[in-house]
Amino acid sequence: MKAILEIKRGTPGAEPHIETFEVAFEHGQSILDGLRAVRHETDPTLAFRFACINANACKECMMLIDGKVDYACTVRLKEGVTTLAPLPKKALVRDLVTEIAPPDERLHGKG
């Protein structure tokens, strides 16, 4: 099976652009599996946040998946197009990475 990931990429201040990647997948694999495959097979510069991979415990992999806020590690890959974008209400860091830490756990303080 093949999934097509349309990913909104960019850095703060720059005009974001959409890049499209195709990944092969097996039943049950997650969006996060797909993103890791993209880095591995095509573009290692793609930035996204995650830690626990399988446990759905770290809660770091939240992003906009087909327009809905969700965890990349729990939503499954599907055939056809899936759109991925950074969280809209958080400050953009790069690509799918946003500033999600509570303000008092950031290096540059609150806000």
Partner: protein, 562 residues
């Protein structure tokens, strides 16, 4: 950017958070740094099972019984000072967590304790349903919020510890979300970075568990101990894809319900291996190391399951009993499309925990004054094999102790920061440049495959020697300066820094594994079967002239048999 603190804690898992709390309580200012978000990056938040402590709530118990089980599992290699501390102080920490409302499951009016393999009685506490780690993390995060004097900073990856005149004086870090180098002056430094199981192809690790802390310690001049002992868990989940569950979760159910291990021919193969094994463990046909062996051999002989493991079947168990035993777990499985009444799952040995680690004394200090370690990053307490439930206890107890002792040192010390001593690490970060490199995320998987195939649960001289050559080759290919694609959250930089550490730590595992010509606990040599009394000693790894060097501790067999 430059920061200053009394105590720098590297890593915000159970150990690091406990260390920060105790150091602050002792009056020190604390900087708690994590490369991920605070309290989310490592194993602690992922653990779903149990925590061992001789509370005596379920059955009369004493820490001495817990200690003797721990020493037996460690097959003669435990550092008894550390093991004693863990067993003796564990109950107080578990009760402290209870007072902080972690929510240990209750059995009537007392804390419930269940019987896990290797323990002589019910000793293990937990939080329902499979929520131990998340509850522990949440509770400690709440305490951090309530405490004074602890600055928490996420996205801050420590790159090197700074040592001046043989004394730890801080660290160099990179702030991942901006890419900016950060120097941290600290009067004492605690390594609480967790384990190294990301070194292996199949693992229960998070992304942050490539063993940074061992590499940090080595480069700071500290010693590591027992590095050859990596614990493989025999029936880690393999397929179908399962998300939201601890990959080791099958174990208690297999134990309780007699889950069957089948090969591709649907043959129940455990009995074929059981005859070779005198030690059977409770309800298991095979002990864990024998089960790992049996599954690996079935796969090698071409009788593995499609994903390369064994089938685990509960189909013989009536649905009502499955429901009763698995409880809400059945619903979590259903959400993953798994119905145990109809379907087999595939399991395989996975790298799960590291017994070895940074060598410390009773104050959790390394050989480098001012440099401490705690949690899974520490070696010694569990010897050649760890009992289930000991790791979180160890994280609490050693974390608290490290925090107290590091604070005491810091409060007596004068600032010792040196820009000059920090320069090499800073210069390395600043030298990062945009350049073409092979895809380093592929190099990481190559290393994981190499470690699994040649430095995995079953080892030989030939395989280990090949692994060392290949690790050296990969290290020279990596080069001395990181590549970089840009400024903020740069995955190329992260891969490079990870590989720099992973390769060093991989070698720190392979070298003592090659030297140890016997089989003991988690270190199994196909070419040297059986335990050899002459090897009842710990091996110590350090860095000398930039390369791994090995020393032997004294034989401790007298102590072990006493």
């Amino acid at each position: 950017m430059h920061l200053e603190t009394d105590v720098l804690v590297i890593g915000a898992g159970g150990a690091g958070m406990y260390a920060a709390l105790e150091a602050a309580k002792a009056g020190a200012s604390v900087l708690l740094a994590d490369r991920s978000l605070i309290g989310r990056g490592g194993a602690t938040v992922m653990a779903q099972m149990t925590v061992a402590a001789a509370l005596g709530e379920q059955t009369p118990d004493s820490w001495e019984y817990h200690l003797s089980d721990t020493l037996a599992a460690g097959r003669g290699l435990c550092d008894e000072r550390l093991a004693t501390m863990m067993c003796q102080e564990g109950p107080a920490r578990i009760r402290e967590m209870d007072a902080w409302k972690v929510g240990w499951a209750r059995n009537g009016d007392h804390i419930a304790q269940i019987h896990a393999p290797g323990h002589d009685r019910p000793r293990c506490v937990y939080v329902d349903v499979l929520s131990t780690g998340p509850a522990v993390s949440r509770t400690l995060r709440t305490q951090l919020n309530l405490a004074n004097g602890i600055r928490r900073v996420g996205d801050l990856a420590i790159v090197d510890i700074v040592v001046r005149d043989g004394i730890a004086c801080g660290a160099v870090a990179v702030h991942l979300s901006t890419g900016e180098p950060v120097t941290i002056a600290a009067k004492s430094v605690i390594i609480a970075t967790g384990g190294l199981t990301r070194l292996y192809r199949r693992n229960s690790a998070s992304f942050n568990m490539g063993g940074d802390g061992y590499a940090l310690a080595l480069r700071a001049g500290a010693e590591l101990i027992d590095m050859e002992f990596v614990q493989f868990f025999p029936i880690g989940h393999l397929a179908p894809r399962l998300v939201g569950m601890d990959p080791i979760m099958w174990d208690p159910f297999r134990y309780k319900l007699g889950g069957k291990l089948l090969n591709a021919e649907m043959h129940e193969f455990e009995d074929d291996y059981a005859a070779q094994d005198a030690r059977s463990d409770g309800n298991y046909v095979l002990t864990r190391d024998r089960a790992t062996y049996a599954i690996s051999k079935e796969v090698e002989s071409g009788r593995g399951s499609p994903a390369g493991g064994a089938y685990l079947s509960f189909k013989h168990v009536p649905e009502a009993e499955l429901r009763r035993s698995f409880g809400q777990v059945i619903d979590k499985l259903a959400a993953n499309g798994i119905d145990l009444t109809q379907q087999l799952v595939e399991v395989a040995p996975i790298a799960h925990y590291h017994m070895g680690g940074v060598r410390v004394d009773e104050t959790m200090q390394t050989g480098i004054p001012g440099l401490y370690a705690c949690g899974e990053a520490v070696g010694g307490a569990n010897g050649a094999n760890r009992l289930s439930g000991n790791a979180i206890t160890e994280a609490f107890v050693f974390g608290a102790r490290a925090g107290q002792c590091a604070a005491k040192t810091a409060l007596q010390a004068a600032a010792n920061w040196s820009n000059e001593a920090a320069a090499p690490a800073l210069n390395m970060l600043r030298a990062s440049e945009k350049r073409d490199t092979p895809n380093l995320s592929v190099a990481v998987t190559d290393l994981q495959a190499l470690m699994a195939d040649k430095v995995g649960p079953f080892r030989t001289e030939e395989k280990l020697a090949e692994a060392i050559v290949e690790i050296d080759r990969m290290a020279s290919e990596l080069g001395a300066a990181p590549p970089s694609s840009g400024q903020s959250f740069d995955p190329l930089l992260i891969d490079w820094l990870d590989l720099r550490n992973m390769l060093q730590v991989a070698k720190a595992v392979a070298v003592p594994a090659l030297a140890r010509t016997e089989s003991r606990g988690a270190h199994q040599r196909d070419d040297h079967p059986g335990l050899d009394e002459a090897w009842t000693l710990n091996q110590i790894v350090s860095l000398s002239g930039g390369d791994i060097s090995l020393a032997r501790g004294a034989n401790i067999s007298k102590k072990a048999s006493a």
